[in-house]
Every structure is written in structure tokens, then in C-alpha cells.
């Protein structure tokens, strides 16, 4: 795992290199490292704390390509004051960046296995980084399947990339929406319904799942039903990360701090916690 900066509480000032609108409420920012800074090494699944000066700081998964040096890429959904302010940023504006923090997808450890990726909504963002890494050394893996569910056709992220990935013969991609509209001729239905249809060897499959917690719960249920062992299933949990180094306790999830031991967990680690209503 790449090392965190020397003082993890001190943000680096980074300029916006590109800002791109993905959907009505989601955008992608590419940030360039300060001159002489050494760039942004990270592992897929990790997150940065992004600071809009004068407004506040939020945790955001890294959605870019870990094999490409240069700008660090984040896809952000506008849901609060900080992310809405971030959505107004343009090329040349400056944000504070702390990170990368947290655990990562077991992309390296999955070598030699089939890989099942199940993403829902904005959950595709941290998994995109994993897909990049998988495809960068495609020959090291068996079958790879990406299942992605969005709310409506207008909410689908990374359309061009998904089209490109669908055209590959070595990657199975299924995109589905909960509500079909606007001339959509693709799949309509929940993403979990596609898990039984994927062609994988369950005894030799590593699964990576990210999306709303309820979706992950049902996705895990289907993956287990396919015969994939619990320890081969990995989830990215979302909590209120603030310090990002396991000090403040805002992201406490049972006995764990999501910022430090997560956000990516092996399913056995969170299985009991996911069944509790109180946390």
C-alpha cells in the first residue's frame, strides 16, 4: 500500500486540471499534484480527504487509474454544502488534498482468480480504479465480470468507458437501471438479479462490491448463493470519515474505524455488523 504523507493532517494544495460533469448531480475532478510533490500513488479502493477552502472537507474515493501517474481523479456526487461547492470548481481552482487513506481492493491478491465486480450508483467510482488495474494486467486473471446498476439511464456514470469495456471480449459487462425511460433499450431491474447469470467459477472467484449498504447486503446474499466463499467477498463501507487516521471516532463502525481498517473490508469482518440496525 502506498505510504500516506508525512503529516496526514496537512493538506496539499492541488489545482483542478479537469472538471467534467458525469450526470445531473455527479462530476469528476482531476487534480494535479503541486510542483515537485511526487504525485499521487494510491491503491484502488482508497480515498482522499478533499477540502474546499472556506467550506469544509469530505472523504472521496479515488476513481482514477492507479497505473497512470499524474492527476488524481475523484468522482463526486453533490449531496451537501462541500460537494455542491466542489461542483462549482473549474480548471485552475485549488483544493486541499489529504491522503490516500484506508484499505484497498484485493486486486493483487485476486491474480489467478475470476473476478466479479458489483457496483451500484456512485459505488462504481472506487471500483473503476480496480477495473483499470485488472485490465492493465488482464492476463493475470480468469474471467472478469462487471455488473453495474444505476437509478435511471441518465444516472449512468462513465458511459464512454462502459461502452468501451462492453466491446472487449475479455470482460463481461452488464448495465441495468431501476427505471427505464428516455428511449433506454438496455436492461431494467436490480443489479443483484444479474449475479446468478454471470459465468464464473465460484470456487475460484473474488468478488468486490460497492454501493448502498442495502444493495451490498442483497448482492452478498446472491454471491454466497452462487457458492463463492464469504472470505472471497469484499465490500467498501461508507461512514462519516473526518480525521481519516483513526483518531476522531466519527467513522466508528462497531469495533472498527472505517477510515483506518476500511473502507474495503472482507465480508466476514462486517457480516455481523451489517445485520445490526443500531449502527
Amino acid at each position: 500500500m502506498p505510504p500516506a504523507p508525512a503529516d496526514p493532517m496537512v493538506p496539499r494544495s492541488c489545482r483542478v486540471e479537469r472538471a467534467r460533469r458525469e450526470t445531473a448531480d455527479t462530476f469528476t475532478l482531476a487534480l494535479e499534484a503541486p510542483p515537485g510533490d511526487g504525485g499521487f500513488a494510491f491503491a484502488p479502493g482508497q480515498f482522499n480527504m478533499l477540502w474546499v477552502f472556506g467550506v469544509g472537507e469530505v472523504p472521496v474515493s479515488i476513481s482514477g487509474d492507479p497505473t497512470e501517474p499524474g492527476a488524481v481523479v475523484h468522482t463526486v456526487r453533490m449531496v451537501g454544502a462541500v460537494t455542491r461547492a466542489m461542483g462549482q470548481l473549474a480548471r485552475g481552482d485549488v483544493v486541499g488534498v489529504r491522503g490516500p487513506f484506508g484499505s484497498h481492493w484485493p486486486v493483487e491478491a485476486a491474480a489467478g482468480n475470476d473476478v466479479l465486480i458489483v457496483a451500484g450508483g456512485i459505488g462504481l467510482a472506487p471500483l473503476r480504479a480496480a477495473v483499470y488495474q485488472l485490465l492493465a494486467s488482464r492476463e493475470r486473471y480468469g474471467k472478469i465480470a462487471l455488473l453495474y446498476g444505476a437509478r435511471t439511464p441518465a444516472d449512468i456514470l462513465y458511459r464512454r468507458e462502459l461502452r468501451r469495456w462492453r466491446a472487449r471480449s475479455d470482460l463481461e459487462v452488464a448495465v441495468t437501471v431501476d427505471r427505464g425511460m428516455g428511449g433506454w433499450r438496455g436492461n431494467v431491474g436490480v443489479v443483484t438479479a444479474f449475479i446468478p447469470r454471470v459465468s464464473l467459477d465460484p470456487s475460484n472467484t473474488v468478488a468486490m462490491v460497492c454501493g448502498p449498504e442495502v444493495m451490498m447486503r442483497y448482492a452478498v446474499r446472491e454471491i454466497l448463493r452462487r457458492g463463492v466463499a464469504a472470505h472471497r467477498i469484499h465490500l467498501s463501507m461508507e461512514r462519516n470519515m473526518q480525521c481519516a487516521i483513526g483518531l476522531c471516532g466519527h467513522c466508528q463502525y462497531g469495533p472498527t474505524f472505517v477510515c483506518r481498517e476500511g473502507p474495503v473490508f472482507g465480508y466476514p469482518r462486517v457480516e455481523d455488523l451489517m445485520a445490526l440496525w443500531e449502527i
Binding site: 460537494t83 450508483g121 456512485i122 431501476d178 427505464g180 436490480v190 447469470r197 454501493g211 442495502v214 461508507e238
Partner: protein
């Protein structure tokens, strides 16, 4: 070339069904093909078939005044399409349209209904299997109603 016996006999939906019953189903089965945009059935029509989709995608749509046809679900490779043939008054609830070239096996449900009445074991075996489909569809619909993707930042 795959025979209907082999396709039906190996389909997970019919797993565990005794060979004579599979043979009976084969007798009610026909290979069918739909071009893109073709209607498999229309809302309100009599439900006298069900389908095993072999290749392709079928959209289930409902017509909403002022909005036109709205797709509420799709059924794809290997899936079963149609269960209202089992439940009176045997009318389709939605319109089904092929989204692309679709190959399927159509089963004559009118014939099967009679055979199910005559042979309650067959009836129960099919009902169990369709109950599973219904459970899956109900569960999926409930998840869709939760509007899961509306709240994650």
C-alpha cells in the same frame, strides 16, 4: 443442433423434474424467434404461453398516458418469461417486446394448464418453480421501490 429435450432437460428451471414430465413439456414446446421490436404479447391479452429466453432481451412495458410505454423490467438469456398463465383469469399484465433479435422456447400453457389439473404432481412441481420466479420478481420490485441509489454520496 440442440434438441428441445436437451435444452429443457438441462435448464435449471426444470432441474429435478422427472423425465416423463420433461417429455410432456417437450410436447408442448416450440422454438420461436422474434425480430427487434416484435411483440411477444400485449397487456390484457390471454396468457396462453410462457417462454424460456435462449438468447436476447425482452422488455416488459406498461403504457402510461402522457408518457408512452415505460419499461418496468427486462428478461434475458436463460430466464423464464410469463407466469400469469398459471393464475386466473390468465391475462398478461404487461406488454412484452423484443429489444433485439430474440430466440426463445414457447410453451403452450393452455395445454399445460389442462395437464396440471389432470396430474397434480406435475402441477405442484411447476407451481413450486414458478413460485420461486414470483419470489425473485417480488423481491427485485421491492428493491427497486427502495430507490437505493438516491441517497449514497
Amino acid at each position: 443442433m440442440e434438441t428441445l429435450e436437451r435444452v429443457l432437460g438441462e435448464h435449471p428451471f426444470f432441474e429435478g423434474l422427472e423425465a416423463p414430465y420433461v417429455q410432456l413439456l417437450v410436447g408442448c414446446a416450440t422454438n420461436v424467434r422474434f425480430e427487434r421490436g416484435a411483440l411477444l404479447f400485449r397487456e390484457g391479452d390471454e396468457a396462453n404461453q410462457f417462454y424460456i429466453i435462449r438468447r436476447g432481451t425482452v422488455a416488459l412495458t406498461v403504457f402510461v398516458p402522457q408518457r408512452g410505454p415505460v419499461t418496468v423490467g427486462t428478461v434475458g438469456d436463460g430466464e423464464i418469461l410469463g407466469w400469469t398463465w398459471l393464475i386466473p383469469p390468465y391475462h398478461w399484465h404487461f406488454t412484452a417486446r423484443a429489444e433485439g433479435l430474440t430466440r426463445a422456447i414457447a410453451l403452450d400453457a393452455k395445454c399445460l394448464r389442462t395437464k396440471c389439473e389432470e396430474d397434480r404432481v406435475l402441477g405442484y412441481e411447476l407451481l413450486k418453480r414458478f413460485a420461486h420466479i414470483l419470489e425473485q420478481r417480488l423481491h427485485a420490485t421491492r428493491l427497486q421501490l427502495l430507490d437505493l441509489y438516491g441517497s449514497r454520496a
